[in-house]
Amino acid sequence: MLPKHLQAYLGEDASLALVLSEDCVQFNNTPLTVNTLGDTTHENQAYFQRVMQATVQPLATYRSADDILVVELDAKRVVDQPIHIIHLHKEALFRRHVLVIAQPLSEMKIIEHHLNAEDNQPMLIEQTLELIVRDQAKLDYVSFDAFTQAAQVQMSRFGLVERYGELTWVLGSLSSGDTQTENITQLIGEGATSQSTLLTVGVGLQKQHHLVRIDQHAAYTKGNIINHGVVRDQAQGVFDGIGYIKNGAVKADAQQESRFMVLDDLARATTNPILLIDEHDVTAGHAASVGRVDAETLYYLQSRGLTIEQAQSLVTLGFLMPLIETVSDVTLREKLLTIIETKVVQHGA
């Protein structure tokens, strides 16, 4: 059974959960196998060796095998209910390395939560996450963090997708402290696809840098990157969107869209859309923009009785809404909406 406060947090319907704190791992009905890398099967270990050699960019620089937690879903298992992975952060310095494997033909949805015990404790959060989606497996991964400005956040996320596997990322970077994330997906098998959606709201003096990259090594692969960000006050934000089609990846498709909305005079935002293409027979496209809320739009909403602040909030939420709507879990969607509303609407963070 989950502790009551966690059950309340996740909502009554949430039945599958994996709770990770500094010193313990708690399960609740999960269909997952959990091991350290040192204890996982020989099969898996051999596989990791192979994978690391096969990709140009290694998945991540491995530390000691015992520090890596391997979370695995057996081949052909299909889990409809979302599986919640909850990180409980208590200590000031927090490092975690989790590796998730969806074995061939398996399907699951994971929702990752970061909760910290004390709100304003200065913290350094460093997380490394790897997702491996094997042949024809499907993995939906939703992750969000909403630490206070006292926490520095560094997230490194890597994905690897094999033949006709599908990996969907939805990342909500909603912390108020300096944040750096890299999210790199390698599509190594024919027909592998990845859709990455990232949304963020920068407030106060916060600095953020988000890199989202999809490398397409094989034929018929599809990569789609969508980043939407809002910066207000004196916040600064950068999106690097990189779509890389390697030689031989015929009929590959790489798309990306990175947009920032700038709410205040001293807020700054940059988007760097990059397409690297080493193959002729492909399709690719990108869109990028950095801009303020359109004056005509504000006037239109004001003419219907909304104050300029209300109009601004409505347009800003509207800008992020299509991304929030990609989250299928209703409880989580409401939660994200509340956090975003607070961040967008509140003044002088």
Binding site: Y299, G305, L306, V315
Partner: protein, 285 residues
């Protein structure tokens, strides 16, 4: 209930330092429908924008009072809350904001904090209005004006008018982009609303054509030329303008304006731009 009065006195306004309105005098009372007609680029839309408070337009002289309260001293949203409504010629498209969320925010902004409309009364009223305007059932869930056809946008403006129940509604070329069915639907809804509200709402209708007036019988027709109302009459004036144009009127009043040929040449030499309106044309922008 009370009958509102909008009193406009010697209103002058400019855009980018070019004077467009040169002294408008007009009084509109609840229950009345005033049509404002006139050739392109003579200040009809500027009048609407100046009354609503579009930041691009500067009022340089004159007053506009709604029930004794000076509109010109108010912010745009305060003018709306005071009871003024403008159906825009080019409504903005706003992605991610659903019609129903937007309308509910707008209705509640008018009702004020602590007096918000309940969900059920709101949904009921919205559904009734959608039906009256023969709009798509999924309208409440669609994003505000995004991907709407020209006609849908105009109907959506009227929908907002039905929901907000203003004291004075200005409809700026609500007939442009409407096919014949939509024209009938929009026209009859405006007429019905004025009747139903029994002198609580007055309408200023800005239009080029008589055709909308087939469905809305105006009490007054004003002709606006070169920033001034040069003639006021009843519905028959609109019909005469439709058949004979403005030339007889200009001749009668001794107005110096461009001949039609000259207008055509300037129009040809101007680069095409999307969303060009009368004022921009006048400025040669």
């Amino acid at each position: 209930m009370s009958q509102p009065t909008l009193t406009i006195t010697d209103l002058q306004a400019s855009v980018e330092d070019k004077q467009i309105l040169k002294g408008i005098n007009l009084t509109v009372k609840g229950g009345e429908i005033h049509a404002i007609m006139g050739p392109n680029g003579n200040g009809k839309s500027t009048l609407a924008a100046a009354l609503m408070g579009n930041p691009k337009y500067a009022v340089t002289k004159g007053t506009a009072n709604l029930d004794g309260e000076s509109l010109l001293d108010l912010e745009v949203d305060e003018r709306s809350k005071a009871g003024l409504f403008l159906a825009m010629q080019y409504p903005s498209e706003i992605g991610g904001v659903t019609n129903s969320d937007f309308l509910r925010s707008a209705v509640n902004a008018h009702r004020g904090e602590g007096n918000e409309i309940g969900l059920f009364p709101f949904v009921k009223k919205l559904n009734q209005s959608v039906k009256k305007l023969e709009m798509r059932d999924d309208l409440p869930h669609r994003y505000l004006n995004e991907g709407f056809s020209g006609g849908e946008k105009k109907r959506n403006e009227i929908l907002q008018m039905l929901m907000l129940e203003p004291k004075i509604a200005i409809l700026d070329e609500i007939d442009s982009g409407l096919d014949i069915d939509a024209l009938r639907i929009v026209g009859t809804n405006i007429t019905e609303m004025v009747k139903e509200r029994n002198q609580e709402m007055g309408v200023i209708l800005i239009t080029h054509y008589q055709r909308l007036l087939d469905y809305i019988e105006p009490d007054f027709v004003h002709v606006l030329i070169d920033g001034k109302i040069v003639k006021t009459g009843d519905a028959s004036l609109a019909r005469r303008l439709e058949t004979e144009g403005y030339e007889w009127l200009k001749a009668e009043l001794g107005l110096q304006t461009l001949t039609i040929e000259e207008e055509a040449t300037t129009a040809m030499s101007r680069p095409a731009n999307i969303g060009s309106c009368g004022t921009r044309q006048k400025l040669g922008l």
